[in-house]
Symmetry: C2
Subunit: 222 residues, 2 copies
């Protein structure tokens, strides 16, 4: 994805995980977008402590605006649909997932990213901000259809129909591995101690859920 | 749009206006979809009394499930962006709008329909319901890019990427005028006294805002 060097203002979707935190600092420090608003969602995720990390990182990046939207109704309408939001569904260990289950894992939240991105696009459009940055990365594409380049391109094709100034979604890490993202982040001085991954949302990371395993692989030695 | 005669279950987006009310009865009585859930949104619209009409029509259609979601955060994030949700912006008379203003009128709510449809799709997917019905009609296409056939096709192209069973949006009235929709509704016995259109949301319809004028033209004599 080519990034226009002259983006004047952008919204960054910020979960508080490694990918979106790196993205935030990349947009501010590397792309040097002059006006950046961070947007986080409380959607009923068990690991809502990721939002504390988001707050910390927003301060570290020196942003003035961090919007946190409460859309916990998402966990109501997807009841039974995801281990990420439904207390009755266990978050599985990565090792326990069959190849078939990996195609759309229990931690997938039905249509979550289209919802988050359409809200972000509405906010950006209302603010006259032309871009929304989204931290999708390559390693999620296996199981999450809403984390792929094709998904982003499809949504951009729809948004481009706007009769006014269309908002464009940018996913600069969509072809990057988490390891590559960490390398970018470290070059920008990102403090990964202030990011949260574990889906189980306990006091300390479980170490065995899919995102804990991937985090460890990305941060650890070769 | 060809409608598969064997849709087992569908969600109908129901505002309480003429088009979506007709759609509801069309899906139940004409398409005879066996399982129908109605979905309405309180998004901070001034004319929230349309929701009372939605309730009445759901009972008239004999539905068991009517979900009403509170997404008033939409009016917060689009503050300044729409006369439909911002008390500080007047709803204009249709007669006062220039051709240029009609291209994206003040009553347009930034990205509203993508938000509503993506929430509806999430709900449908979680319920295992394969279709979402959307009451877009031809006469809104002039000014609302998110009420067109191209918009619906674009979203369906994205939703079709789902690794599980994709949800499909159906907009059977997208090439119909409001007059044609009323003719369909009357043939189905729809009671238009229990629908609400006026954007100004007063005790009685103003008679001059865009939707009041269009309603009168659709319901009145040739």
């Amino acid at each position: 994805m080519t990034i226009d060097a002259s983006i004047p203002a952008a919204v960054v979707l910020l979960s508080g995980g490694m990918d979106s935190v790196t993205l935030l600092h990349y947009v501010v420090r590397d792309l040097k977008v002059p006006l950046v608003h961070a947007l986080s969602f409380h959607y009923g995720q068990k690991h809502s402590r990721e939002l504390e990390m988001a707050h910390w990182q927003v301060r570290a990046a020196g942003l003035k605006v961090h919007l946190e939207l409460d859309i916990r109704l998402l966990s109501d309408i997807t009841r039974g649909g995801s281990a990420l939001t439904d207390p009755a569904i266990e978050v599985p260990d990565l090792a326990s997932l069959s190849p078939d289950a990996l195609r759309q894992p229990p931690t997938y939240v039905p249509n979550r990213n289209m919802i988050l991105l359409s809200l972000a696009a509405a906010y950006a459009e209302s603010q006259g901000m032309s871009h929304v940055f989204f931290g999708a990365q390559q390693q999620d594409a296996y199981g999450y259809w809403d984390c792929t380049a094709a998904f982003v391109e499809g949504l951009n094709a729809v948004l481009a129909q706007n009769h006014g100034v269309p908002v464009r979604i940018m996913a600069p890490f969509v072809h990057r591995s988490k390891r590559e993202i960490v390398a970018i982040g470290r070059s920008l001085g990102v403090d990964y101690a202030h990011t949260w991954s574990c889906y189980r949302g306990g006091e300390t990371p479980c170490g065995t859920c899919p995102t804990c395993v991937e985090r460890e692989r990305a941060l650890g030695p070769e």
